[in-house]
Each structure stands twice: as C-alpha cells, then as structure tokens.
C-alpha cells in the first residue's frame, strides 16, 4: 500500500515538474517558515467555517426556492398542515423534514455562520491587542474589517431569506432603517424591495446576494487576506531569536500544514457535534412570516445584536428640518455601525498619527506592553458588548427577573460610563503586569522562602533569572517583550547571593 502510494505520488510529482517546472517553487514554499503560537490558529476558525459554509450552502441551495409565491403546505409536518406560506418558507420545511440530512445541514450551515463571525471577532481581537495591524500589514487589517462587515451582512441575508416569522421581523427593521435615511431613504427602499414593504421580489434579490455576490466578494477578500499573510510572512511574538529581520518557527511542510489540517478537521468535528446536538433556528416553530403576527424574544443572530441593541437604547429623537424629518433609527441603525466600522478600519492610521510610530513591525507586542492600545481595545469591546447585551434586553429581563425599563436605562448609562472605566482599569492592569515582569527580571523570581538575616530582618529569597554578581546582588535583565516566567524555581534552595534588598 505504502509502496503504491509512494509510486503514485512520485509519478504525479514528476509529471507536474516536467510540465510546470514546479519543483523549485514547491520547495521554496514548503520551506516557508511559520511562527508558532496557538493564537495564530484563531483566524483559521473563520477560514474553515467559511469552507463548511460554502460546501453545506451548495447543498442547501439545491433545495431552497427563492420565491414569494404563496402556496399551501401539505407536507409531513403536522403543525403547518394546510397553512399558506411563501414557496421559500415551504421549501425550507421540505428541506428540513423530507430531504435526507437536510435539517442537519441547515443546522451545520447556521452554526458555521455563527462561528465564522465569532472566529473573525476573536481573530481580530488578537491582531488588535498584539499590534499585528501595524505597518506593513495595514492592508491585511483593512481586508479583515471588510470581511467582518461582509460576513455580518451575508449572515443577515441568509437568515432573512427563509421568510419565517422571526426573520421577517428583521427584514421589516432593515426596511425601516433604509426608509430612515434622509433624502434618499425612499429610493433606497424601492431599490432593494422594488416597492413598498414587503413586496414579492426581495427574496430572490437576497438569494442572489447571499449565494453569489457576497460569497464571491468574500472569496476574493479571503484570498487577498491569506495571500498577504503568506507573502509578507506571519508576525511573531518576541522570543529567543525572534527579531524584526528573522522569522523563528517551523516549515510549512510538514509542520504548519499538519497543524492547520488538524485544526480544520477538529473544527469540522466541533461544528458537526453542535449541528447534531443543538437545535438552531427552528423556523418550523416560528411559522411563516405574516405582517400581522409577532412574538416575544425577537432577536437577530448574535453578530447583528449590537445593531438591535443600539436601536433599543437610542431615545426617540426625531429631527425636523423644515419639510424633512430625520427619524431616530437613522442614527443608530446606520450612522453608528458605519462609524464603528470606520473607526475600526482607520485604527492603524489613527495609532500611527497618535504615536508617531511609522516603522515596520514584524514582532508583536504583548497586550500589557502597549497599555494605551489595550485600554482602547477594551473600551471598544465594552462599548460593543453593552450594545450586544442590550440587543437581548427582553430575554435578560425575563430570565433574571429584572424590569425591562431598568435594563434600557442601565444600557444607556453603561454605554457612556463603562467604556472609559474599562480603559482606565485595563490600562492600570497592564501597567501592573509590566511592573510585575520587571520586578522578576530585576530582583528575581519569588520563591516563598524566608531567610533571617543576622540583624533579625526576614527577607524573601529570590532567584534572579540573570544570576547574581560577586557581591550577591542580582544582575538585572532587560525586558525584551517575551513572556517572563513568574513561577518559583522548582527547588526553593537559596541561590548564593540571591537575598536582595527587599522591603519587609
């Protein structure tokens, strides 16, 4: 078996090399060095989730019918028997109950969509807090911001076009936000819906956008994103030998490739388990969309939660300019998210302007080593988190028995007070962590062993990582940006001269 595989591989490789002169390039690329850190695999969560989305989505698209024509359900699902619904919703019921593996793949697709965006958020946070976006990687960052925005939009389109009662209410909100745009709102709404809400053309438009336009853009952007990472090489954490002009890590083949394949296989396993165990978006329980019906606990998927949170917190401030009215949803439905994404996209530029640091950086910073940036990041995440939590005020109110109105006010006040507080607190934590690192490097690791000096003073024995000089004083080490080991040495034996001038 092994012999056959080797022979086939050799024959294929030789054939390719003879035709395309592939050996040289392949050898060079296989020797591409990848720095090793577990957080460098986080972006792949989004990448592999996207792959799962494409494959499962193709299968789902074979059965989904993007059509608003009304039909009567006569399928096996008893609680919908004889009800009128759009062909789109009907096809989803058929897909769920009559197509082999249909419900499983729908659930897989939906969980993958959630993890696609969640993975991007996690990956983006890692890049932000370690300064990976700095020159020369601004374009990679920009591509990532665009991917996040497009990913949210893509998810929203897919969630909406099933035409169930839950998502139909979301479509109504989208239509309302379009209408709220000053001057061009009505035109925008007509452009998307082809008329008044609800219309009969929007599902096929959402469908084309969801399965063709946005995925094509996503594929192009992902290609650019990964191409840039490959071409510019991955950033690395400071450590032995890791400098601006060297890369320390392992070769692409077999080291990195085997790890990334393992990561992808594990992701598929996690998604498969989730899709098999947890029911997600049971549209057959929500019912078909009828404008006169509504339920409680109406939320979008989590990635759009911050938008709904904003709409729930924002006061009813209408601005009347002569004959024109600027409705309240315009500010939080459109201006706020655009502003948030603009700030996210512009952050590398803003930081360069703020710090005057125009240099290229291949080596990352630990979050504690740039307290201002880490504080700003915490501020942004807190702001986003409060909006996000406010998107589920009804569920929180009912689950924890807190009056709904209280939560709205808590969100409004929290949105103004907590982000600056998070900045201050996180900044102080960073400074404290820096101080603790420097304390170890300058005075030594704490051992927990007390020693009594002849004059009766008790001192803690320290183990200076840089050793001690002839007089017993620790030799301070410079902090190079790498992790400092704070664990006390294995044996608490006092090292010669390690007793330092320690305050009692």
């Amino acid at each position: 078996m092994g012999l056959v595989a080797r022979t086939v591989t050799r024959a294929t490789a030789n054939a390719l090399d003879r035709r395309f002169k592939a050996a040289g390039g392949a050898r060079r690329q296989a020797s591409h060095v990848f720095p090793k850190h577990h957080s460098f695999f986080w972006g792949e969560f989004a990448l592999y989730s996207f792959a799962v989305l494409v494959v499962s989505g193709v299968y789902l698209a074979l059965f989904f019918v993007p059509d608003t024509t009304e039909v009567v359900y006569r399928g096996p699902y008893e609680p919908m028997q004889g009800l009128s619904m759009s062909r789109a919703y009907h096809s989803v019921l058929t897909l769920s109950f009559e197509v082999r593996a249909g419900l499983f793949l729908r659930q897989l697709h939906h969980w993958a969509a959630l993890l696609f965006v969640a993975g991007m958020i996690l990956h983006m946070s890692r890049n932000f807090f370690t300064g990976a976006f700095r020159r020369p990687r601004e374009l990679t960052w920009l591509g990532g911001v665009a991917l996040l925005a497009l990913g949210i939009f893509e998810g929203y389109l897919g969630y909406s076009m099933l035409d169930d009662l839950l998502s139909g209410l979301g479509v109504r909100i989208f239509s309302g936000i379009l209408l709220s745009v000053p001057l061009v709102g009505t035109w925008l709404h007509w452009a998307v819906f082809g008329g008044e809400f609800f219309g009969d053309i929007w599902i096929s438009r959402f469908f084309i956008a969801h399965v063709f336009l946005v995925p094509a853009l996503l594929v192009a952007l992902i290609g650019m994103h990964i191409g840039l990472v490959w071409y510019q090489k991955h950033t690395q954490f400071p450590g032995p030998g890791a400098r601006e002009d060297t890369v320390v890590g392992e070769r692409a083949v077999p080291g990195f490739v085997s790890r990334t394949v393992a990561n992808g296989v594990c992701l598929l396993a996690v998604l498969g388990l989730m899709a098999g165990i947890f029911q997600i978006n049971p549209v057959f329980l929500w019912g078909p969309y009828v404008p006169s019906q509504v339920s409680t606990y109406i939320q979008p998927d989590f990635y759009a939660g911050f938008l709904i949170g904003g709409l729930r917190l924002w006061p009813r401030w209408e601005i009347h300019l002569g004959a024109y009215t600027v409705p309240a949803p315009f500010w939080v439905g459109l201006v706020l998210p655009l502003l948030m994404f603009a700030l996210l996209a512009a952050y590398p530029l803003l930081e360069r302007l703020g710090t005057g640091d125009r240099g290229a950086h291949q080596v990352l910073q630990r979050p504690r080593d740039n307290p201002t940036r880490t504080g700003i990041g915490a501020m942004g995440l807190t702001f986003w988190g409060i909006l996000f939590a406010s998107g589920a005020t009804d569920v929180i109110a009912a689950t924890f028995d807190i009056p709904f109105e209280l939560l709205v006010w808590a969100g409004r006040i929290g949105l103004l007070v907590l982000p600056p507080l998070a900045y201050v607190v996180v900044r102080r934590i960073c400074l404290g962590l820096q101080r603790a690192d420097r304390d170890v490097l300058e005075r030594g690791v704490r051992t927990g062993v007390l020693q009594e000096r002849p004059d009766g003073v008790y001192l803690e024995v320290r183990r200076p990582p840089g050793g001690a000089d002839h007089a017993g004083r620790p030799i301070p080490l410079d902090y190079g940006g790498a992790r400092v080991d704070h664990r006390p040495a294995a044996s608490p034996e006092p090292v010669a001269g390690s007793v330092t001038e320690e305050q009692r």
Binding site: Q107, W111, I280, A398, F404
Partner: protein, 263 residues
C-alpha cells in the same frame, strides 16, 4: 395483680377519652361531593370566607388597597386564578404568579376539584360572568393543530412567545410561560383574561378555535417538536449566540491551544 389490671384499664379509658374527644371536637375537613344548587353555593361561600374574604370583601365588593371586587368575574376566573395557585396570593402584591395551588384547591384531587367548583358556583351566583367549560382534559384539546398555531401566532405569541416560553411586559410584568398550564387553565385564561391578558370571548375565538390553540401549545411546548436536538430553551438567537461562544468558540480555542502546544 388486680392493681396492675386496674391501672391498665385506667390508661385504656384515658386513651379512649382523649382520642374520642379529639375525633369529636376537631372539625372535619371540608368535604364536598357533587352537590348542586344552593348547597354548593353555601359551601363555596364558606370556602370564600376562609380563603378570599380578607382581600375581596365580605360581599365580593373588594377591599380598598387590597383586592378588586369579584362581582361578575365568573367561575372561569375563579378556576384559573385558584387552580394555578395565583390566588390566594402568597403576600400582598398587585400581581400573582403561578405556584402550587392550596391543597384544598388542588385540581389534581377529587376534593380540590369539588372545592373549586363550589367556590366558582358561589362567585357565579353573584353577578354571573364567563363560565368554566363543561368539558375537561382531553375533550378540550382540538384536532387542527396547524390552525391553532396560526391563531396562536396571531393572538397569543406577541406575549407568550412562539412556543409558550413567556416574555416581558412593561412595569416588571411577565406573561407566564405555558409549560405547566393544563387545558382547563388555558381555556379559562382565554375566557376570563387574567391580569394584563385580554379576554377572548367565544365571539372572538370560538370554543373550537380555543381548543385548537390548546392543541398547538401542547404540541410544541417542552422538548416536543424538537427534531433538531436540544432546544436551548427555544429562546431564539440569544441562546444560540451564547452557545456559539460558550460551547463552540471555547472548544475551538481549546483545540488550537492543544494543536499549538504539541511539538
């Protein structure tokens, strides 16, 4: 020997006297058996005067600051409020939540049902109002689940959620979850419109439609109707997002830490 016998007899006599006196003097528990007419109303009045009078007044006229008058609420309201444990209130407050009913009004016991009927008859005799249906249990479950679902989404879901998982109202009020409601309780709730709930009289929802709605609620509540696995409480995207982060993302970060740590 005779002394010992005398003592034994004395003790026996004392025991008989105490036990017999106890049996005679302690009031018998309220017994109600399929009575009709005036007897039942009197019995209901007795129950009322023990359990309800302190808040609702001696003549059902209500007590200022404590409870509303009950003239005209009908025995449907009595059945709903008392059999779900909402009444009597556990403490003085302006809203009642579901709890275990008082044992004397427990709809699962013969005596509880009789007491509920008696109390209802007394209230019904004073001002009338919506009445508890004659059918019970399975007879109140309709046959057209889908039609019931459509009516449910139109009339009920805006407060009670797609599948009866409750929701919120203003001022810290919560429409209840429907997990524990019996067909009788759902039916009488629709008829009487308790708390903030509107009344759905037979002209708004016919008895057949009410039964279809009950059939729908029974069909979808709990883990029923969950072909896709664990329902996550059917709370919708809020619970799904939480699981995506707490289960999915945490598992993936763990996987990455494991893969990244292996050398």
């Amino acid at each position: 020997m005779t002394r010992r016998l005398r003592h034994a007899l004395l003790v026996l006599a004392a025991l008989v006297a105490v036990g017999g006196g106890y049996a005679l003097l302690v009031p018998a528990p309220q017994q109600a058996t399929a009575q009709t007419g005036q007897t039942q109303i009197d019995q209901g009045r007795a129950l009322y005067e023990r359990a309800c009078i302190s808040c609702h007044g001696a003549n059902l006229q209500g007590a200022p600051g404590r409870g509303p008058g009950l003239v005209g609420v009908g025995d449907a309201a009595v059945y709903f409020q008392v059999s779900t444990g909402r009444m009597p209130l556990a403490r003085s407050e302006d809203r009642g939540y579901r709890k275990d009913p008082q044992p004397q009004f427990d709809p699962d016991t013969e005596q509880g049902r009789a007491n509920l009927a008696a109390l209802g008859a007394y209230i019904q005799a004073n001002g009338g109002g919506p009445t508890t249906p004659a059918e019970t249990g399975p007879e109140l479950i309709g046959s057209d689940v889908a039609h019931g679902g459509e009516l449910y989404r139109l009339n009920c879901a805006s407060c009670h959620h797609f599948t009866g998982r409750g929701g919120i109202l203003a001022d810290g009020r919560y429409p209840p979850r429907l997990e524990a409601a019996t067909p009788e309780q759902m039916y009488t709730a629709m008829l009487s419109g308790p708390m903030a709930m509107p009344v759905f009289s037979d002209r708004q929802l016919t008895p057949e439609e009410k039964k279809d709605i009950i059939a729908y609620v029974l069909a979808v509540r709990g883990q029923n109707n969950a072909p896709g696995g664990f329902t996550l409480g059917e709370l919708g995207p809020a619970a799904e997002g939480l699981v995506a982060f707490v289960v999915g993302l945490v598992a993936l970060v763990g996987v990455a830490a494991w893969i990244g740590a292996r050398s």
